[in-house]
C-alpha cells in the first residue's frame, strides 16, 4: 500500500483548498492515474480530475506530483517513496479538485493563428509537396499535446499571467517554419509583443518538463532572434521590403 495526499477544492462549499489523504494499493506497474482511478472507484467518488488516453498522448492528465508538473499517466508509483502529493497544475485557477480552468491557455493557442496561411495556392495536382528536410524544420514543434506542463513549470507565466507561454509560442513557430506557410508576419503581432516571447527569460523549465520533447524554449529563442532581426531591419533599413 502507499498513500496519496490530494489537494481537494469544492467551489460550492470550500473557501480554500485542503489536502486529503488516501491509502491506495501499491502495484509496480501502476501510475498516479491508476491510483486516482482506484480512489474514485473504491474510496471517494467525489474526486474530480481530467484524464483520457492513459498513454501520454492526449495531454489531459497534467498535474503536480510532488511539486513537479507531470502527466499522471506517466508518473509511476514506484518512483515515489513515501506519501505522494498530488495537486492541480500550478499557475492555473482551480475549478474543482484537480481540475483547472484552462480558458487562458486555449485562448492563447488561438491567438498565434495556428493554421496554414499558404504562401502559394495548393497545386492543381492536389497536395503540397514537402521534402523530409522541410518536414524536419518544424516536426519537433508540432508534437505538442497541449498538456500545459510547460505553463506550470514556467516561473514567468506564474509571475506574468498575460505571458503567451511556451506551448503557444512553439505552436506559432511550428507554422512559421512550415515550408508551405507564409503567415510569419501575421503571427508577429502576437509573438513579437511584450507578452509574446519577450516575457521569457530562458529559464528552460518548459523544455525540461515537456513529455513530448517539443523544446519550446528553443522555439522561443529562435523567435526572439527573428523578431530582433525584424526590429533592427524595420528601424535601420525601413526601405527594405520584408
Amino acid at each position: 500500500m502507499t498513500q496519496l495526499e490530494v489537494l481537494r477544492y469544492n467551489p460550492e462549499t470550500d473557501q480554500e483548498p485542503r489536502f486529503q489523504r488516501y491509502e491506495v494499493p501499491f502495484r509496480d506497474d501502476w501510475v498516479v492515474l491508476d491510483a486516482l482511478n482506484h480512489v474514485k472507484e473504491a474510496l471517494d467518488p467525489t474526486l474530480s480530475y481530467r484524464w483520457s488516453c492513459h498513454m501520454a498522448v492526449c495531454g489531459s492528465c497534467g498535474m503536480m506530483v510532488n511539486g513537479e508538473p507531470k502527466l499522471a499517466c506517466k508518473a509511476f508509483l514506484r518512483d515515489y517513496p513515501g506519501v505522494i502529493r498530488v495537486e492541480p497544475l500550478r499557475h492555473f485557477p482551480i475549478e474543482r479538485d484537480l481540475v483547472t480552468v484552462i480558458d487562458d491557455f486555449v485562448a492563447k493557442l488561438a491567438r498565434v493563428k495556428p493554421w496554414l496561411m499558404p504562401k502559394e495556392p495548393a497545386p492543381a495536382a492536389g497536395e503540397y509537396q514537402q521534402t523530409p528536410a522541410q518536414l524536419k524544420r518544424y516536426k519537433q514543434f508540432s508534437m505538442c499535446i497541449n498538456c500545459m506542463l510547460c505553463y506550470a513549470a514556467c516561473p514567468e507565466y506564474g509571475l506574468i499571467p498575460e505571458y503567451l507561454g511556451p506551448a503557444a509560442i512553439a505552436l506559432g513557430h511550428r507554422w512559421n517554419r512550415d515550408s508551405r506557410d507564409g503567415g510569419r508576419e501575421a503571427r508577429q503581432q502576437e509573438l513579437a509583443a511584450k507578452e509574446g516571447v519577450w516575457d521569457c527569460t530562458f529559464v528552460g523549465a518548459c523544455s525540461e518538463v515537456c513529455p513530448e520533447h517539443v523544446d519550446p524554449a528553443a522555439a522561443i529563442q529562435q523567435v526572439k532572434i527573428e523578431s530582433t532581426v525584424d526590429w533592427y531591419q524595420a528601424h535601420l533599413m525601413p526601405w527594405l521590403k520584408k
Binding site: E12, I94, G158, T201, S207, A217, A218, Q221
Partner: protein, 117 residues
C-alpha cells in the same frame, strides 16, 4: 456556482526544484561580471592618471578582498560561459555549434593568457 480558486504566487518558486536555483545562480553571475567590469573601469581611470595611480590599482588587485571577489567572479563567470554555450544550440540549431563555441573559448582564453603573461 463556479468560484475558481487562484493560488497566490510567492518568491518561494526559486526553491521548488534545483533547476530554478541553477537559473538564479546563472542570473546572479551578472552581479559579479558587472562588478568586475566596473572595477576594470576604475582601472582605466587609474591608468589614465599615471604610473602611481596605476600602481595603486595593481596593489588593490592584490588585496585579500579583491582576490576573494575575483575567485567568486571566476566561478560565476565560468558558470555563465558554460550555461551560455550549452543553450546556444537552442537559439541557433546549427551542427556542432556548442562544440565550436567551446573550442573558440579555449583559443581566445589561451590568446588572452599568453598576451598577459
Amino acid at each position: 456556482m463556479s468560484k475558481p480558486y487562484v493560488r497566490p504566487i510567492t518568491s518561494e518558486w526559486i526553491f521548488r526544484h534545483p533547476r530554478y536555483l541553477r537559473y538564479m545562480a546563472r542570473e546572479f553571475s551578472c552581479l559579479f561580471i558587472g562588478g568586475w567590469t566596473v572595477l576594470m573601469v576604475w582601472g582605466l581611470k587609474q591608468l589614465s592618471e599615471g604610473p602611481l595611480a596605476w600602481q595603486a590599482f595593481l596593489e588593490l588587485l592584490r588585496s585579500p578582498a579583491s582576490i576573494a571577489l575575483h575567485l567568486l567572479t571566476l566561478a560565476f563567470a565560468t558558470y555563465h560561459s558554460i550555461t551560455w554555450f550549452n543553450l546556444t544550440p537552442k537559439a541557433l540549431p546549427l551542427p556542432f555549434i556548442a562544440a565550436a563555441h567551446y573550442a573558440l573559448w579555449g583559443v581566445v582564453s589561451v590568446i588572452v593568457l599568453r598576451a598577459a603573461f
